[in-house]
Structures are given as C-alpha cells and as structure tokens.
C-alpha cells in the first residue's frame, strides 16, 4: 500500500474547524429529526401508498385497458372513454341524477337544514342536551338499516305514512316506487340523518363571540341582519367545510340508493341469485354515478370500463372542490391574527 499524500494525510490529521463541526452536527441532527418524523409517519405513508396510491395508479392504467377481471388487461387506448361518452345508454342518466339531484339539490338542502336546526338548538334555553341528542340520534343509524326503515315506512301499500294519509282521504304517492318521488325520498332520508353536520354547525354557532351580537344590536341590527352580518360571516369557514364535504359525499352517493332500489323493487335480500337488473329502480331514477360504476365493475365484470368511470369521478370531484375552494375566497371570512 502506498502512503497517503502529505496534504491528504495532513487534512485528515488536522482537527476540523468549529464552524465545520457545527454544520456537520446540525446536518446529523436534521437527518435524525427527519428519520424520526418519517418513522412516525410511516404507518400513514404505508397506508396511503397501499390503499390509495397503488389503487389510484392501477385504476388510471386499467381505464385504458379491456379488463374483465379474469383475463389479463389488454390495452384499448381511449375506447372505454369513447364508450362512456358516446354509447353507454345509462351514463348521462347517472350523471344527471348525481349532479342535479345529489349535488345541486341535496347539498344546499342539507347545509340549510343542518344550519337551521343548529341555530334553533343553540337558542333553546332549557333541555338543550335533550334536543341535541334527539336531532343527532338518526346519524347513529347505519345507512342500510336507516334505508330499510324508510322504504318500509314509505311503502305505498302497507306503510304507516300512506295509511295515515289514507285516513285523511289523501292517496299517498308511490315514494320509492315512483321515479318522480324516489329521489325526494332519498333526500328526505339524507336530511333525517344530518346529525353530524348539525353538530359541527352547532359548535360554530355557539362559538360566535357574543360581543359581536351586542355591537350589532347597539347599531340597530335586527335578528335577520345579525344573522346576515354576524353569524354567517363568522361561521363561513364551517359552511365551506360542509359544502365541500357534501359535494364529495353527493358525488359518491351509493349505499342508500343501492339498498332502496333493491328493496323497493321487491328484492328481499342481496342473495346469490339476484341480478343487477334492479339497480336504479324505478326507471333508472336512483341510478347514481357510483351505482353505475358498481354495476359495470362488479356485476358485469367490466373493470376496465369501471376504472374509466372512476377516473372521471376523481377528476370531477377534484375540479368541483377546487372551484369551490377558489371561489370561497370571496365569501369565506378569514380570521385576522390578533
């Protein structure tokens, strides 16, 4: 082995300058901190990668393939997207049902309803706990059980609601069996179970500083003006949250529609020999976008096409949320640092 060059040996032997030592120590500390952060984040990173990242990438890939779940995926380019927009006879119906009814009508109604109940409950002087519990309770019912209950109560022939209406001389509607009433029935079910959003609104309403109301009152503001100029601006971040959450849930509306259609069509169980023909019953009025996606992917085994539908849903959800959030700067009250 040849001896090390003098200057290199000298450099190795010479003690490092204090500045260099501090920099190295800082780098090492930074790296230790990063490793610790990564360690703590690792469960989330693994979960995100396995349960979100990988399925997302695979869905994107499969959306360009013909894939029937049993034979290997075969590249078909944009064929699935062409079929979606030009040939699938149920695609536009499901889009209309989802966007118009679940996003356009159900979300504003849910926000208004939850805010209204929260405002009322916040004003209750005695028995507030009781009313909070009563209004929150339906949110605890599992969606399937709640839907079964609603279909039973609204059964046009034997349900208690139509029986009561019959006693009053009114021929009740066909509810879940009528394409004009099935979506309002589902929206009623959603409003009934609005407890979670109501609780968030209640917390926000109770958190509005009292002195703002007092100042408004001194300025001569009545209850409506106080609502307009004090309550709404103060809780606007919560309204934004409820709207975004409602839109995403509306675009993913599935369980209640799936169960209601099956039961209302006379399908007593989701047993082995049940085909997918009742999805959307009656007359495709409950055929929401996720139901269509499920039908293609899991009843008809067209997973490539279902993946294309899923990618479009992701893109639309992302775009709508982005528009709402960007637009919110105009109306959401930003807290001023004290």
């Amino acid at each position: 082995m040849s001896p090390a060059p003098a200057n290199e040996a000298g450099a190795l032997a010479a003690p490092a300058s204090p500045a260099l030592t501090r920099a190295r120590a800082r780098r090492q500390a930074d790296w230790r901190r990063r490793r610790l952060v990564l360690l703590f984040m690792s469960p989330w990173i693994v979960g995100f990668s396995v349960f979100f990242g990988y399925p997302l990438v695979m869905s994107a890939y499969l959306s360009f393939n013909h894939y029937d779940l049993l034979s290997p995926p075969r590249w078909v380019g944009l064929a699935n997207y062409r079929y979606m927009f030009h040939a699938d006879p149920q695609f536009w119906t499901s889009v209309k049902n989802t966007v118009f009814w679940m996003v356009g009508i159900a979300v504003p109604l849910q926000v208004l309803f939850a805010f209204g109940i929260a405002t009322m409950v916040a004003r209750v002087k005695s028995g507030a706990g009781f009313f909070r519990t009563i209004f929150y309770l339906p949110a605890l019912a599992p969606p399937v059980a709640a839907t079964l209950g609603f279909v039973y109560i609204l059964n046009p022939a034997t349900g208690p609601v139509n029986t009561l209406l019959g006693h009053l001389g009114i021929s009740g509607p066909l509810w879940f069996q009528d394409p004009h009433w099935s979506k309002p029935s589902l929206i009623s079910l959603g409003l009934w179970g609005i407890g979670n959003t109501m609780v968030i609104f209640l917390a926000a309403v109770l958190d509005v500083p009292q002195h703002l109301y007092e100042s408004a009152e001194l300025d001569g503001a009545g209850p409506l003006q106080q609502l307009r100029w004090v309550t709404l601006p103060t809780i606007s971040p919560v309204i934004l949250f409820a709207v975004v959450l409602g839109v995403i849930q509306g675009l993913q509306y599935f369980t209640q529609a799936y169960v209601a259609a099956g039961v209302a069509a006379g399908q007593a169980s989701q047993a082995a020999d049940v085909t997918s023909v009742n999805l959307g019953y009656p007359l495709d009025s409950t055929l929401f976008y996720p139901v269509l996606l499920y039908e293609h992917g899991f009843s008809e085994f067209q997973m490539g096409y279902a993946s294309a539908l899923a990618m479009l849903l992701l893109a639309v959800s992302f775009a709508v949320t982005l528009v709402i959030v960007l637009n919110s700067r105009k109306w959401v009250h930003q807290a001023v640092p004290r």
């Binding site: 022939a157 034997t158 394409p179 082995a272 085909t275 023909v277």
Partner: protein, 437 residues
C-alpha cells in the same frame, strides 16, 4: 466397529419404518375437494348436501366439502386471487360468456371426449347456455323452465274451464279474474304483466311469440323482428287496462317471492308466470292450494309454439388453477350426467333434470304439476336467451328498455327497439374490448 455397524443398521431400519409409515399415510389420506354452490338455505342446500354426502361416501379417495350461498362475484374474486375451489356452480347461465371467453372456467371439451360423453345427451337449450365461442366450459346441473300457474278455485268461480292456450284467451281470462276494491285499486290480479315483477322478464315472455334476438352475425334484431313489437304492444295494453300506477301500488303490498306470502300462493294472483320450483314451494308452504300448471299461452298467430317455454338453469364447471383436475372432473361428470343423481336431486328440489334420459327416468316421482315442466323442457321449440360476451348486462339492457316502455317512457316503439339494437351491439363490442363499433 461392531457398535457402529449396529447403529447404522438401526438408523437404516428406522428410516425404512418412517418411510413406510409416511408412504402409507400418503396413500390413505383422501384428497380434499371443495364445491361452491349458489343454493343458500332451506330445503335446496340441505338436499344437495345430502346427495353430495352419498358421493363422498362412495368415493373414499376424496372428502367433499360443500359451500352454499356463493354468487358470481365470489367466484370471480376467488379465481382472480388463485383461491378458487375445485368445482364451482352458478345460477347465472347468462355469465357463461364471461367464464368461457376469459378462460376463468376451463374448457371441458377434451375431458368430455376422453370419457366419450356426447353433449347431445343434453337438450338443445342447456347445451347452448353452457358454451360460448366454441368452448364448453360448463355443464348443466338441473334446469329451470317457465310456465303458467293458475288458481283452480278462482277459475271455477269465474266459469273458466281450462287454462288459456292463446294470448287472446289469457287476456280475457286475466280481465275476468281481476277483482278490484271499491276505490278501483286491485284486490286480486288476473295476471300481473309488469316487467320486473317476480319472474316477469322479457326473455321469458318472448318465447310465446317466437321472437328472435340476433341475426346470423350476432347483431341484435329486436327492432327488425316484429314479434318483439307485437308482444310489447300486448303487454302495455294489459298494463294500461289495469293502470300502471295501480299495478305498482298493488305489487308494493305483495309478499316476497321466495316466502310463504308469495302472491300466487297467498291468493293475490289468479295466474302467474313462474318456474318449476314453485311446485316444491307450494308443497312445503301451501299444500292445500288448489292449482294447476300449464305451458304459457302463446301468440294467436303461432299456435305451434304452445307447449314450449323459456329455459335456463344452474351451470357447473371447473375454475382455472385447480389442483385436483381428475377428481374435480369425476365429480362434475357425476353431478351432470349420472341419471340416478339427477332424478334424486330433481325429486328433492323439483328442478328439471338436465339429461334427456333423466327426463324420462322411472326414478322421477310422478307429480301432475311438475310433469308440465318436464314436457316444456323436452319440447324442441323451447328456447333460452342469447349467451353474449357482455353476460347478464345484455338481457338487463333489454329489460331496462321494456320497463321504460310499460311506464309510458317510449313514444315510438319500433324506433326505440332499433335504438336498443344499436345499444346492444355497442355493449357487446365494448365487452369484447373493441369499444364503440
């Protein structure tokens, strides 16, 4: 040295004994076979398990495990994950296109050939719905066919002496047998023609009109074959006579199809299109019901079709990746071609046995109600729905169209049917991976 030799001899002897024990154990341990079936509860699954136990007992080289309540989703998921059982069966013969086309169920052609089994032992309809694209990846395991159930007491009260043979007679009888409440709502329906109600689907009615589904190239011809428009016009005419909303309200108050409160069994329907299995259900649930069975009435212009009906049924096959092909095939062969087994199983659950020989087997217990369905099954004009690459989606799309039609949502029937043809062709092309044609 002697000690070493003794130790070596001892070890050798022990190894020989161990090998013998292991070999013996290997020879005597039976192969575990698992079969998945769709029957989920009640007398049907119990009956199948009892007969499967007989096979198990007669074949000591295997132990057979029967798992009930399995649907096509579970089958597909198991095949994908490589955890499929040795043998699977499905109620959904519509999906044979998926299973054969994808290779999810193996082609049985060579196994049939090896054992000199000619598929012509099965009648044409089950022979058709167990193959796709030149591959026979399934065999029929009992079948369902459809006919008319009628309430004899109601017929007698209405002065009707025999079941209707033509659609005109059926219409007249249905109107005569219908009883309304004072407010005009339906108390008892002569027959419920709503598509989607119980077993009412287009494929089971169109056999009465001899309607064709596709041309020689496989393209849909529902708009071109006048039988479809003729049937749909009659069907909507009868729906309108009742009142669409009145029928929907009437149906909402009826019992579940697979329960003792089913409408025909409960006396809410005077006539009903139903499968042969109802005979066993009535025997279990309403043994005193005075009823009769007959082939479904046919178009007046096609009297030659009387006696035929719609057929489909349970299919059975071997999923790919199975480890015990010989034993699995032996089981499938027994369950589908053994006339003794088919007759026994048919007697227990009153489904139609699927070989030509078992149809006339002396072991089939005579039953005046059930014999109607044996005759329908053997009728050469009986037919089934097309097996397509898009599977059950094909007939679902057809049904979807007619549910809109009966509700008044289709203004021009022929134009609507022509559009439906295009949609069906596009759906099949998409299912084959070709996209929009």
């Amino acid at each position: 040295m002697r000690r070493i030799a003794a130790a070596v001899a001892l070890i050798g002897a022990l190894m020989l004994v161990a090998a013998a024990v292991a070999g013996g154990a290997h020879r005597s341990s039976p192969t575990k076979l698992t079969i998945w079936v769709g029957w989920s509860a009640g007398h049907e699954l119990t009956s199948f398990k009892a007969l499967a136990a007989e096979y198990d007992k007669a074949h000591p080289e295997i132990t057979l495990k029967v798992v009930g309540g399995v649907d096509d989703n579970k089958i597909v998921a198991a095949i994908r994950s490589g955890t499929a059982p040795d043998v699977v069966s499905s109620f959904n013969s519509y999906n044979v296109g998926n299973y054969c086309g994808s290779g999810g169920w193996i082609d049985l052609t060579s196994l049939l050939k090896k054992d000199n089994i000619d598929p012509s032992i099965f009648p044409p309809a089950p022979r058709y719905y167990t193959q796709y694209g030149g591959k026979r990846c399934a065999l029929p395991l009992l079948a369902d066919d459809y006919g008319l159930y009628y309430n004899k007491a109601m017929f007698k009260a209405a002065g009707i002496t025999h079941p209707p043979r033509t659609i005109a007679e059926l219409t007249a009888d249905a109107k005569k047998l219908t009883v309304r409440n004072k407010d005009g709502s339906i108390k008892v329906a002569g027959i419920d023609p709503i598509i989607g109600f119980y077993e009412n689907v287009p494929e089971r009615w169109i056999t009465s009109y001899g309607g064709k589904w596709t041309d020689a190239k496989g393209h849909a011809i529902l708009g071109k074959d006048p039988a479809w428009a003729k049937w749909a016009t009659w069907q909507k005419g009868l729906v309108d006579w009742y009142g669409y909303k009145k029928l929907i309200r009437f149906q909402a108050g009826l019992g579940d199809e697979f329960s003792a409160s089913q409408a025909f069994e409960a006396g809410k329907l005077a006539m009903n299109l139903d499968g042969e299995w109802r005979v066993a259900f009535i025997a279990h649930e309403h043994p005193s019901l005075q009823y009769g069975t007959a082939p479904m009435a046919v178009d007046n212009a096609h009297p030659e079709l009387y006696g035929s009906g719609y057929i489909n049924g349970t299919i059975i096959g071997i999923p790919r990746g199975g480890k015990h092909l010989d034993q699995s095939w032996a089981l499938v062969k027994y369950l589908t071609t053994n006339n003794h087994f088919l007759a026994q199983f048919s007697n227990l659950i009153r489904n139609v046995p699927t070989t030509k020989a078992s149809l006339t087997s002396a072991e089939i217990k005579p039953d005046v109600h059930f014999s109607t369905f044996l005759k329908i099954f053997g009728n050469p004009k009986s037919s089934t729905s097309p097996i397509m690459a898009s599977g059950v989606a094909y007939t679902n799309l057809v049904q979807n169209f007619f549910t809109k039609w009966q509700a008044g949502g289709v203004k021009n029937l022929v134009a609507g049917l022509n559009k439906l043809d295009s949609q069906l062709d596009a759906q099949v092309a998409q299912a084959k991976g070709g996209g929009v044609p």
